[in-house]
Symmetry: C2
Subunit: 116 residues, 2 copies
């Protein structure tokens, strides 16, 4: 029998739950990575106009990027008057990344035992 059928399927699904494609899709664009870095370095919430100053594109594109990051749970939007403040969800993002690292290693070790 092949080792393939011995793969810990529960582990795969557990990983795929953590592997939200939305998150990585949100972070795969260099402009959005720049935005996240800028938001992180600011240590506070930034308006769209402020955020747009870090990347050389039209601010309407920045607005779209921020909306996408919001859908992915990377940032949170707070409306103050006519301006919208986008705040990086540092804690959530960091723990998601760490949880992913943990799950990867746990899954790998479990797979090693199973295929031994």
């Amino acid at each position: 029998m092949t080792t393939r059928t011995d793969l810990p399927a529960s582990c795969v699904t557990a990983l795929e739950e953590r592997f939200e494609p939305e998150l990585f899709q949100a972070l795969c664009d260099p402009v959005r990575l720049g935005l996240v870095a800028h938001l992180a370095a600011s240590g506070r919430a930034l308006t769209v106009t402020e955020s747009a100053q870090c990347c050389g594109i039209h601010f309407s594109g920045v607005s779209r990027h921020l909306a996408l990051l919001k859908r992915a749970g990377v940032v949170r939007a707070e409306k103050h008057g006519r301006e919208v403040h986008y705040r990086l969800e540092v804690g959530a993002l960091a723990s998601t990344l760490r949880g992913l690292a943990d799950a990867l290693e746990a899954c790998w070790e479990e797979g090693q035992r199973a295929s031994a």
Copy 2:
């Protein structure tokens, strides 16, 4: 003077160094995420043909996906005869993710102090 110029620029660049777009670009595709999960759960190196069994696409596409993951440093390729074994770089990937989480939080806190 605006607070924008007070942004800790060193922190931004430090983050952007860790924010390799290649990594997230490698992980933003659902098929590749499935491959990584499959490789992680296997606990060993898999051939292209074995890897292809987790995703419903032609194996030539899987070969391309694995090559991309290799360029991003997510997997390592070992040639054994006529077959190529792709092994997940679990340790490197996990520590990259954790390093990213740490850098994000450090950057955020430094930014908070600067903007206070």
